[in-house]
Subunit: 324 residues, 4 copies
């Protein structure tokens, strides 16, 4: 079979390296370049192969049918435009084109938000897709049936507490991410709705008609990968089967697993799965649900979903090269 | 100075061993026995000394002016009574006598709840004190100023997400607590208000006049010790200074530190401190606060607070033998 | 293609579960039973499937063309014999039939030692293979070229220090393997040549003509999986290229990678690879080499090598279902 | 009692911060400055106090009776000289003045090597002491009785494998020290006698009359603190009691504990102790010993031993402010 050529910009970070690995294991894609400005000339082992990074400026964009940009927020947009003008499709893993951000793509209409399960149809034909942030992926999918079915108590607060492995903070050396600082520690950050992903989520929720207050508190876990979100919501009614809305909304979805038991990071790391559970809170006056959602931040939360979107954009089977 | 004799029942668990270590380093206490039925005859090193466990039945209760019971829930009450009848004061670290539990102490009036900062006066003269659970300690102290000052929006939900190190699950060998099961994992448990501590907290909150729904979701962290609680509450008004209620309520408290920055486990492990911060949620219609609270589950959450209470009961300086 | 039926005895331990996962992902094998006496009736998720353990006594040995026994040392031999008498081939992951152990297989000739790269030809036709221990796998392969080429200084000591992840100690709940006991700790065990694997290795070395003293000191690492062995040997001569003996001995081996850089656990976990490096010690009078070798204890050190052997025994491509 | 004034240069690294904490808890010392060039103006919490770093150039050396220099290797010597010329005593934690290094102190005689238990007498009166490296501390103390008593087989190799927590690599942000790179990993480094500490140890061993080859292979552990050294040596004779040489050599030493059981990092972290054990290797032709030695790399391996030396230099009780 003819392999499709793809390239990766920003290939040396955690998401970029994950992309290179997924592409390497993909039956119908071929990696034609991996650019990493700061690490150009350096080599990494990807599976059995050795990959040498080139400078971003040297990336032969014209050779790729699709380019993944894992460049930093703010620097990505320019390269998305360059790749487009060379005729490539682009999956942008930065926040530049996501809901709530200011990025505007010159000479382009609306850029679909790459939350695959919700926007599959618009993604399929898109030239550019804005790949969602890691936290929004697990949280928006977990909230989707509640909004769709108008189950949230009007005016109530959606309280989201989430915890991420440290690869979510990127590969940039920072003293506070050294092993000795993270091991045996746990803390919240961006407390007070200050995290970049709050805006991405609240914009998306509003556009879907949810007017509830959203409170989002991320935490930093002493693990390498994985995100667990724990969501507390007040409902308009008492559900007989708390899992029914999710079972219904996501029936047949290959990467979404609705679970009787609370999901754990171990259930999802190194897969493109989202695992969701929900339980009714005992002893409350107002019907209240605790929804938990687990993903791998580097797979479904970044490179995996980017590949899922790329598969759709290239007319391939959505599941190719991904573990469910 | 004359040393006071104390004994420990249930000395081989994590809380029991922590108690033995704290007693060993305490300037005015002397450990006269350490009982651990299942491990009788076994020795452990506590600081420079070697300690040999005796059987619970062989514990010379009559020799101790105060007994700490770190026996399992359900088995402790009987021994609290035996120690009382031998004339000893008792700090019970089990849940048997805590709010919301069924334990009744024969021939005794009310047993004070040993949340030291809130019930110092009743603890001082008590013969028996029910030492709080680890989660309730950090959470109830964090909620205290909000209830005291009637800041919670009536009818709103108090959403508490908390994460504990694995010593909170005790020293009993369970396959799911093996290193390889916990490392690189994170999950919620007791989801749906099913944790034993929910009742302890809700009973206590009700007795203090708070009628709000409480939703409590504990999580298991891949760390040895420490608890972080993240609490989302809706307020009746917008606070100018979100830390003011805590600064006021806990002024002069040696073990409670109100912090501008979000507390981390590293700030509190191996101390008896509670570190609390609060931040206003941006972009919400209803004034909303995120309160974070960190303690060491084995110190302030168990053995440390037990010793703090014992100091009071024995007429000693409350801070003796404890790190603030 | 016709799938070959295989069964697993002792399927609930770490090696057993790894076997089930590898079989599930194998293109030509089909799992017909997974037996785990203590956990019969319990279910585990293996990839997308749910597997329910049956009792060992209920295992339909006659339905399997090949049986993997991951039963405990001492209990395995009996089941190896039962499976043989039902006509199945057997890969025994216990130590019962390994060099240096007393196990004798009734009515059977010599049982080949399943160090695949060294005994491929005898494994191919065998009815029963004794799968090597995890430590011996990485260590004996690392020592092989030195012995083959008679490079070891006669009479000198082979000093082997090795460190293993905790899955090497099995899934049995033991207090000393709880997360809080292992995290942030490191220690040697079996010090003084007391580990079971010492005999397996020294017997094998002797049978290959190496008369050197062997000193083996295993250590317990705070990681889930992986073994690193660090071997210090004195040589009869100074090698120009310290890697040459390994490059020569293992040329073309799909699972053995000779590396200029020191191997790390991250290079090999979740693969069936052995990664070996060697460096000359500077500033020594006698030519001395430090050889390092890394494997995943559950893959090449247990289930992976067992499958590699099974592939050979069943006439399949040795690499099927394994990651190099 | 009158407190003695001390200052710390290089106070922001792991050893520097440990020094500040130890000084803060010391009954007879007062910290008069903490200098950290790159972090001047930044504050850290040390116990209950907040410490603000000043620039190295601004350090009031003249105010300190003793200065600890935890400056980087190469930059320290100049500041040792400046502090001396201001009349201060100095404990230099860098390698600049250690055995095997080229550092020469102007206008000064020999600088004692601060391995306290071996050189107590020369340290007591010294103006400058070269504090040993972390690895040499645990290893040289473990080897001392073997050399003293001439137990090593002449011409035999001393094979030392050691593993250190990541604080040993310092607080400098490096991508390879990020949590996600270290967690679940283990590797050797400086393989081939390339580590800086090899020269420090071999120079010291030679000066004590040991002519054996020394092979030293350090490893990087996924723990924050602690060093375990595992040493294999061939002896001239078979010892009846393998611990006797250490018991004899270190009798009465407050910080050295000889142990029947193999020491673990958990036994020594956050103490100034060295814990040593030794076991005879079974099944060897030549009498062979495995000696294991554990220390906390930041305490006995750096700041703790520095304080132990400072206590001696200042005429204080050697144990003041240290945990045995």
């Amino acid at each position: 079979m003819h392999n499709l050529s793809v390239g990766v910009l920003g290939a040396s970070g955690y998401a970029g390296r994950e992309l290179c690995q997924l592409i390497e294991g993909h039956p119908s894609l071929e990696l034609v370049f991996a650019a990493a400005h700061g690490q150009r000339g350096q080599s990494v082992r990807i599976g059995k192969k050795t990959l040498t990074f080139i400078a971003t400026e040297d990336a032969p964009l014209e050779k790729a049918e699709l380019v993944f940009s894992a460049l930093p927020h703010g620097s990505s947009l320019e390269w998305v435009e360059r790749a487009c003008s060379e005729g490539a499709r682009v999956v942008d893993l930065s926040s530049d084109l996501r809901p709530g951000n200011d990025g505007r793509l010159a000479n382009a209409g609306c850029v679909p938000y790459g939350l695959t399960e919700l926007y599959r149809d618009t993604i399929r034909g898109a030239q550019v897709v804005a790949n969602p942030g890691c936290y929004p992926t697990g949280i928006l999918l977990a909230l989707h049936p509640l909004i769709e079915k108008k189950l949230l108590e009007p005016g109530s607060t959606i309280s989201v507490t989430a915890a991420s492995g440290v690869t979510g903070a990127g590969f940039t050396p920072r003293p506070d991410l050294l092993f000795a600082e993270i091991s045996e520690d746990f803390r919240a950050y961006g407390v007070g709705n200050n995290h970049r992903h709050l805006l991405e989520m609240s914009t998306e929720l509003k556009s879907r008609g949810a007017a509830n207050d959203l409170v989002f508190t991320p935490h930093l876990l002493p693990v390498a990968r994985g995100i667990l979100a724990t969501i507390v919501v007040r409902l308009t009614l008492d559900l007989d089967d708390p899992l029914a809305p999710w079972r219904e909304a996501f029936e047949g979805e290959p990467f979404i697993h609705i679970s009787d038991t609370t999901p754990a990071l171990h259930d999802v790391v190194r897969t493109n799965s989202v695992r969701i559970s929900a339980a009714k809170a005992a002893n409350t006056k107002v019907p209240t649900l605790i929804v938990t959602s687990a993903i791998d931040n580097l797979t479904k939360g970044a490179a995996g979903q980017a590949l899922q979107n790329a598969n759709l954009m290239l007319g391939l089977d959505e599941q190719l090269g991904l573990i469910a």
